[in-house]
């Protein structure tokens, strides 16, 4: 997939006046439409049936598709993912749910040692159209075991595709792409975005995996952000534009594995400065990978080191008094951008 296939900036937000859905609603609609279209798609996970998922992601599916295709499972993350792997190898197209992204760690053997590698180890003979859905992100005082952003760990494992949608529109289109993909994909909703709304076409559409979206064009600096950090970066960009005339170009890779390096590098070559924003811990995070790739491919274009705005190196604290300082927000993103631009940072 090449960056030239990327839709021009702005097309991700479809026609104004179009119907709006919440982030969760967009996901839910994708599930309904996919399951109506393909009898081989089923969903399994804890409380996905009668309850419709603890956050409501799967609401109504059990009523329409019954417990054959909408399966309440025991609390057994390894077996849930394993169920998906086995069913996928046997020809179905499973969607399996891990309630919180933190529980990826409970299922990591099945994800990293099994799902990711079967095809390769079998000499290409296995096909794994498996989608793992989960919910990540901090900011809800859910503490250290219910708030993590673990995408860097998943990205590190060859064979997995990792998707971090930042809007209702993207969530629906990327979910469709995940389910139709014949590889194991993990799509991570952000828990703080469930209620955010945006335009979403009613028909089924697909956003290709591995293609970034230029969310905002600008000449002064590139801001690479994904998931909820896109929204925070957009807030920062708006303020910087209004108050200081600084124009940020926001690039949302949408999938972090595969990563659309081409679009990121093209933007960096244009603006000559780049920062990466993520909720995950800074050390060993996606920011490090993106910084490395940018310096490999655009070293001569850079006027400053690649900046990283991310969570500090600690587990996620419970208290709002601490968590508020942990998760990057528009203010910290602005400060990081100004620093990379070599401009004075207010209050610093």
């Amino acid at each position: 997939m090449s960056a030239t296939e990327t839709a021009p900036a702005g097309t991700a937000a479809a026609d104004p006046g179009e119907r709006e859905l919440t982030y969760l609603g967009a996901f839910n609609e994708a599930m309904f439409q996919l399951m109506r279209q393909d009898e081989d798609i089923f969903v399994a996970g804890e409380d996905v049936g009668v309850q419709g998922g603890v956050f409501g992601s799967f609401k109504g599916l059990a009523e329409e598709f019954g417990d054959r295709r909408c399966v309440d499972t025991p609390i057994a993350e390894q077996a849930i993912v394993g169920l998906g792997i086995g069913a996928a190898v046997a020809g179905l197209r499973p969607v399996v749910d891990l309630m919180f992204m933190d529980f990826v760690m409970v299922a990591m053997d099945q994800i990293a040692n099994q799902a990711a590698k079967l095809k390769y180890m079998f000499g290409g003979k296995a096909e794994l159209p498996l989608t793992i859905t989960t919910n990540g992100g901090a900011g809800l005082s859910a503490a250290a075991q219910h708030s993590q952003s673990l995408e860097a760990m998943l990205c590190h494992v060859p064979g997995l595709k990792v998707v971090m949608p930042s809007s209702p529109y993207d969530l629906k289109g990327l979910m469709v792409a995940c389910v139709r993909d014949n590889n194991p994909t993990i799509i991570v909703k952000n828990k703080r975005m469930f209620g955010s709304t945006g335009p979403v076409p009613e028909e089924l559409y697909e956003i290709p995996l591995g293609v970034a979206n230029v969310v905002r064009e600008g000449a002064d600096i590139t801001v690479v952000a994904y998931g909820r950090m896109v929204e925070e970066s957009a807030k920062a960009a708006k303020r910087l534009s209004e108050e200081q005339g600084i124009e940020c170009e926001i690039v949302d890779p949408r999938t972090v594995q595969p990563l659309d390096t081409e679009t990121i590098v093209a933007s960096a070559k244009k603006t000559n400065r780049i920062v990466v924003v993520h909720e995950a811990v800074r050390f060993g995070g996606l920011g490090a990978e993106i910084a490395a790739q940018v310096q490999e491919e655009a070293f001569d274009y850079l006027d400053a080191p690649v900046g990283r705005i991310a969570a500090p190196f600690s587990p996620i604290p419970f208290s709002p008094g601490l968590e508020g300082h942990y998760v990057p927000n528009a203010k910290r993103i602005s400060a990081g951008i100004l620093e990379t631009l070599g401009r004075p940072v207010p209050g610093a």
């Binding site: 804890e46 409380d47 025991p74 057994a76 005082s141 503490a143 419970f318 208290s319 008094g321 942990y326």
Partner: protein, 324 residues
Amino acid sequence: MEPSLETLRDLHRRMLRIRLFEEAAGRLFEGNKMPGFLHLYVGQEAVASGVCVAMREDDQVSSTHRGHGHLVAKGGDLSKMMAELMGKADGYCNGKGGSMHICDLDLNMLGANGIVGGGAPIAVGAGFANKYRGNDTVSVAFFGDGSTNIGAFHEATNMAAALQLPVLFVCENNEYGEYTPRHKVMAINDVVDRAAGYGIPGVIVDGMDAIAVYEAAMEGLARARAGDGPTFIEAKTYRYYNHHGVQTLGMKYRTDEEVEEWKKKDCIEAFEKRVTEAGLITADELASTRADIQAEVDAAVEFGENSPMPDVSTLLTDVYTEMA
């Protein structure tokens, strides 16, 4: 073993301390004074109390996401608990853990746990340390019915059995894991059936009866102390509130009638009726115990409310132990 009058008073006190603490926490949660998730223990008080009264102070406990009751029953300081639930600096974990990670290592309460199945292996490790040291301390794993479906639980129980470790496994079967009824996710009617598969003794007790729980725990603890390995207790019980938060009725996954039926068997009411009718403890004494505990809870709420938010400078402390 007939419980002594002191034991009866102790059972009553611990149950009531849990109940009144939890009700106060629930009210604060409703009033948006408590951030995050709140998994209330109300309804299940007889289990934690019965087991903890039977335990020695040096015996350890590993707990679950529904862990306040275990800490209170182990003698937890209500003020530090309330402050922790509010995310305040004077809380048990200085605001870093909250409801799901509350602990008091000085009381040998090894922590609530946000990961279902996460606690049982830790109790097994504590049991291993006890045996290794050659003391007769026992560790207790509290866990829900739903958690017995996860790998970590099976691995831990089998290991404890294979290594003949001094561990007491206490399953609090409240018939639900979140919003899913137990019968949908296991093909057995009694969780205790699993014990046979590990080769350890298992018993079922009425989890609404603190005395029955106490007696079963005494036996299991004695067996472990004597070096005869683990025991599995299944306590049949019920949580009054929703999985999380303070709603009790009007839920899709259980009927209001079911909730009301269980409430008729309320562990505290039943206990009070029993001891007063037997002429063991007077109604006046029970009432004054209640008043004392309510005052302690009120003071805990005030303590929590007056405690400051943790200082930002603590954000990055406690990640590692500093080495000289």
